[in-house]
Amino acid sequence: MASWFWYGLRNGIQSTRYPQAPELAPGVSPGRPLDTLFPDAAEAARAAANCPVNAITAVASFANVDFRKCIYCQRCHFGAPDQLHWDSSFEWTQAHSTPGGYQPLPGEFSHSLHVIVVDAGDCGACLNEVKQLNNPLYNMHRLGIFFTPTPRAADVLLVVGPVSENMRGPLVKTYEAMPDPKRVVAVGTCAITGGVFGRTFVSAGGLGSVLPVDLEVPGDPPPPLAVLHGLLAVTGRKQPAPAADNFHKGSL
């Protein structure tokens, strides 16, 4: 066992310094398209028509992206005749348009936050990205954030997946078992609008129709640091983007 101890030590500390310092390692985020100004309206319209999930709308020469619907298929980027600009950041968390605006959890939670995750029909990518937060490279524990196996001890409910009908019951039970105050975060495009699974007899088309959502982390899947940004926003250590007008355009 001693040899394992030295083996671990020899590899040194590899954790990111985010949020104290920006994380610039290549590959931590796939990035996402940006609202783009094209030379003329026809090109913007072509770019919008090229999107398989209607996440891009053309307004005059602008192509605007609705991140609540974008599935990161990159068809507007690689090989597209009308490419959108690309943004390589990961601080994507948005406040859900709750009446009265988003309220972070009180300061007591800022360095002791317990999170429970519910997989409500996720494809495996979002769940794996959430799991990476336990990875030494991200090491969420250094920020006082922990996964907990019981809803009774949880302050935050992270939901991945479009909410499949067979999971609706366990999801609602988990939410009801959590003590107040609590916050709900929808992680990934599927949890926000249903993504490619849409709204059908077996898919609720996003968490919003099942539980009151506080924050949304768009992405398909959002990289681990985007999820971490969301968790920091829960306690007010980071600011979520406000629920802007244009991202509700044409939402479900």
Partner: protein, 538 residues
């Protein structure tokens, strides 16, 4: 430790298989239509079906590919897929008039078909005569009423407010009836929700677990149903996103099916790059699976080191392709984008670094007796049981079943690649771990070869007119063989889409491994199987 499986030196005599079937079953079947290398057997008398399947699976040694049910205009089409190395796919078809929904069950003869028939019963409302257990399966009885049959043509998946009358009396089916027996429920939300949504009933009389039944399909999203009527390019989004940890393999199987229907010749460069990307996905998947095994034994340093390898491979995938899970790369006809020389060299360097780390980790694990004690003789699947249920992928290969589609039915650039297929005999948790390590190293070798052999050229070829009708594509996903079957209609849209996923098959085999074991072994058996619920549930 690892042996290359031997394949029959000369292909089995296809003609003799045909004549054998004809001689045995005479007028009950008609063997015909050699489409390419495939054999088509049409069953004329339904009663002969079980005996025919038993002959193919039990006596001839065919592998079972799966069951595909279609509701056509006037009749049911049931397609039982088999394959035998050296011949082709064997399509056994049975047609029944629509008003007759009773089919003889082949499960008593071909155990691997058990879940496929249960699925067809739940989703199509077909009755399988003499099947030992039907009912509550994909649509859970405490949520849905029986007889919904959502895969029928008349059912509209857009009914958001469907009337429900679930069975309030539903109780799990407990097998152990001993005095003092009780069942411990686990899931669907467990491990802080970091495990996929599955429910397990651990039936016990105290110390040891006698049986553990997984209850899946919490994540059923009706992928096959919502794909109907979609354009081929939109179906691809579903193929990529129903099981993201094997996204590239599934989208590859899907694209190859479409390419067959359009008689598309994929450029050589794209075929080699598809090998690179498939193996990159396998390597990353296996690093994650190894991490899960280390975690299940609570050996924290090894877990952390394996996790670092997985994340570094995710980052390397992102730098190389722009997506951490390789979405948006495959397209019918090739790849959506090309990769330049420096990018390929950077990927090679990242892969080499990951492989070196994996070798160091493997070496340490191999000499840690407390770790090996937890894995050896745990969750044993014997070679007979593996063959009986026709297990796929690393789980099958750990029990001596070396059915690797990359070797048996080479696709993309695998025909010109040199690699070894892992094969172990013990069938326990440690054998499954060894297979993962071995395959990871082979993936590195394949990536190296494919990048070395890259020649400048196109990566995408435009399709000709799509030929309507059924088409089949396959790939060896990290968990095992995946087969995507499509029927395209006159407008080139998807008429019926069927995913035969490896997890669906291997979850059935999980039953065998979880009998009579100690409580603390449960997470280890689960981790060494490394199965995906989302790939099974669809």
């Amino acid at each position: 430790m690892v042996t290359t499986p031997s394949f029959p030196s000369e292909p089995p005599d296809v003609v003799s298989l045909e004549s054998n079937v004809e001689a045995r079953f005479e007028t009950a079947v008609s063997v015909s239509q050699r489409r390419g290398e495939d054999i088509s057997i049409v069953v004329r008398r339904a009663a002969a079906l079980p005996a025919l399947c038993k002959f193919l699976f039990g006596d001839t040694g065919c592998s079972f590919g799966g069951l595909i049910v279609e509701e056509r205009k006037e009749d049911w089409h049931l397609l039982y897929l088999f394959h035998l190395p050296g011949t082709g796919w064997i399509h056994v078809t049975l047609q029944l008039p629509l008003e007759n929904s009773t089919v003889p069950s082949i499960s008593p003869q071909v155990h691997a078909a058990d879940w496929y028939e249960r699925e067809a019963e739940d989703l199509f409302g077909l009755r399988f005569e003499e099947h030992p257990r039907l009912g509550d399966f994909i649509l859970h009885d405490q949520v849905w009423q029986e007889g919904l049959a959502p895969m029928r043509r008349a059912f509209d998946p857009g009914q958001v407010h469907l009337e429900r009358c679930p069975n309030q009396e539903w109780r799990p089916n407990l097998v152990v009836k001993d005095p003092g027996a009780f069942a411990m429920p686990v899931g669907p939300v467990y491990e802080g929700g970091l495990g996929e949504s599955i429910h397990f009933l651990l039936e016990t009389v105290g110390e040891d677990v006698i049986r553990a039944s997984p209850r899946l399909f919490y994540k059923y999203r009706a992928v096959e149903k919502i794909a109907e009527g979609k354009a081929v390019s939109d179906g691809l989004l579903l193929a990529e996103r129903f099981a993201a940890k094997s996204a590239f393999a599934h989208s590859l199987a899907y694209c190859q099916a479409v390419e067959k229907a359009t008689h598309l010749e994929v450029p050589v460069r794209a075929r080699r790059l598809r090998v690179v990307l498939s193996e990159l996905e396998r390597l990353r998947h296996h690093a994650g699976a190894i991490e899960a095994i280390c975690q299940s034994t609570a050996l924290n340093v090894s877990e952390a080191q394996a996790a670092i390898i997985e994340e570094q491979l995710l980052r390397a995938s992102c730098c190389f392709t722009g997506h951490r899970y390789l979405f948006g790369l495959n397209a019918p006809g090739g790849l959506r984008r090309d990769f330049d020389g420096p990018a390929c060299q950077a990927l090679l360097a990242a892969v080499e670094a990951a492989l070196a780390r994996l070798r160091r980790l493997e070496h340490r694990l191999r000499y840690t007796s407390s770790f090996l004690d937890r894995l050896e003789d745990v969750g044993v699947v014997t070679a007979e049981a593996a063959r009986d249920l026709d297990l796929l992928g690393p789980v099958g290969r750990a029990s001596g079943l070396a059915n690797d589609l990359r070797r048996v039915w080479p696709y993309a650039g695998y025909r010109e690649s040199a690699f070894e297929v892992a094969c172990e005999k013990e069938g326990d948790g440690y054998a499954r771990l060894r297979v993962l390590f071995f395959e990871a190293q082979q993936s590195g070798r394949l990536i190296h070869q494919a990048i070395e052999a890259l020649q400048p050229g196109e990566v995408w070829a435009e399709g000709q007119r799509m030929v309507p009708g059924p088409t089949l594509g396959w790939a060896e996903a990290p968990i095992g063989a995946t087969v995507h079957w499509l029927r395209l209609d006159e407008d080139g849209r998807i008429d019926r889409y069927r995913i035969l996923s490896p997890s669906f098959r291997n979850w059935l085999g999980f039953h065998v491994a979880v009998e009579n074991f100690a409580f603390q072994d449960f997470p280890i058996i689960l981790a060494t199987f490394g199965l995906s619920a989302t790939e099974c549930d669809r």
